[in-house]
Amino acid sequence: MTGTEDILLCAAAWRKAGKGVALATVVSTWGSSPRPVGSQLAVDDRGDFVGSVSGGCIEGAVIKEALDAIETGRPRLLDFGVTNEQAWEVGLACGGKVQVFVERIE
């Protein structure tokens, strides 16, 4: 679980600076997935982020949901996998599946 510390510190620093912040965490994986359970990504209200929850395949979609979570305060559990023709856009090219929990830092 490397690098998590910096992500939490960064999230706390952003929050202290008055920014809206959300935290995304990989909570389960199936098959080959690039980042292990516990990997985290912090996002601020401008879409700047630190950390990762995949090899870059799903970050865009996660950030979009994170921005919505910052606005509404509603936590959410996101499922990603290769499920349809759109796989290359919002799925994992490696064929794995991941579940990502997104929450606002209050």
């Binding site: 998590t4 965490t25 516990g38 936590p75 606002r104």
Partner: protein, 233 residues
């Protein structure tokens, strides 16, 4: 996540205290589980607390199906440790790659002239004799120990303590011949063959490494394989 939870997580990490965050995956309510206590907005049953404590040992997060719904337990443990004995040339890339791989790195060398060199600036350096240093650092099941000095006085002192510890990895730099001589000396000190089988030597995966950086890569690769394949913390 409420700010108090984030702040508690950050201060537990700063203090080196193992902790797990339990999150209800529908409501987002949370609780923190420590080795000796737990608490927060989310009420946890005994099974979930036990799962969180298990995750703190294995260093792996898990989802738990509880009567109240799915809960993710996320351990935040202090980094696994890498103790490097010998501030020699190979130690320069080894401490760096070890740190990049996420280890809390400590360099041990009683020879001030070696350990105080510029490449080791910013790293934790202990200049006690290796057996004293290792006794004090107390390798645990999340600690790797690598000796690099080639000097039996220093390497053997460290290996003696490492072999009596539950360190998950023990490696010692040296050729097959050097390693055979080392095992012979350790055997004379009373270590049995099954103890000595714990010492990886020649150290590192056989990838044909030549340069110090390549040897460091092979050592970190072997440590990684030992840790991840064996699923120790």
């Amino acid at each position: 996540m409420i700010r108090a939870v984030l702040d508690d997580l950050i201060s537990a990490r700063a203090a080196g205290t193992p902790v797990a965050l339990a999150t209800h995956l529908e409501t987002g309510t949370q609780a923190l589980v420590f080795a000796d206590r737990s608490g927060g907005e989310l009420d946890l049953d005994a099974d979930t607390v036990a799962a969180a404590r298990k995750a703190m040992v294995s260093d792996r997060g898990a989802t738990v199906d509880t009567p109240a719904g799915r809960v993710f337990v996320h351990p935040f443990c202090p980094p696994a440790r890498l103790i490097v004995v010998g501030a020699v040339h190979i130690a320069e890339p080894l401490v760096r790659i070890g740190a990049l791989a996420g280890y809390g790195v400590t360099l041990v060398d009683p020879r001030r002239a070696f350990a105080s060199r510029r490449p080791f600036e910013g790293f934790s350096v202990v200049d006690d004799w290796p057996d004293d240093a290792l006794e004090r650092l107390a390798p645990d099941p999340r600690t790797a120990v690598v000796t690099l000095t080639h000097d039996p006085k220093l390497d053997d002192a460290a290996l003696g303590v490492a072999l009596r510890s539950p360190a998950f990895y023990i490696g010692s730099l040296g050729s097959r011949k050097t390693h055979a001589a080392r095992l012979h000396r350790l055997r004379k000190l009373g270590f049995a063959d099954e103890d000595l089988a714990r010492v990886h030597g020649p150290v590192g995966l056989d990838i044909g490494a030549l340069s110090p950086a390549e040897i460091a890569v092979s050592i970190i690769a072997e440590i990684t394989r030992t840790r991840r394949r064996a699923a120790v913390g």
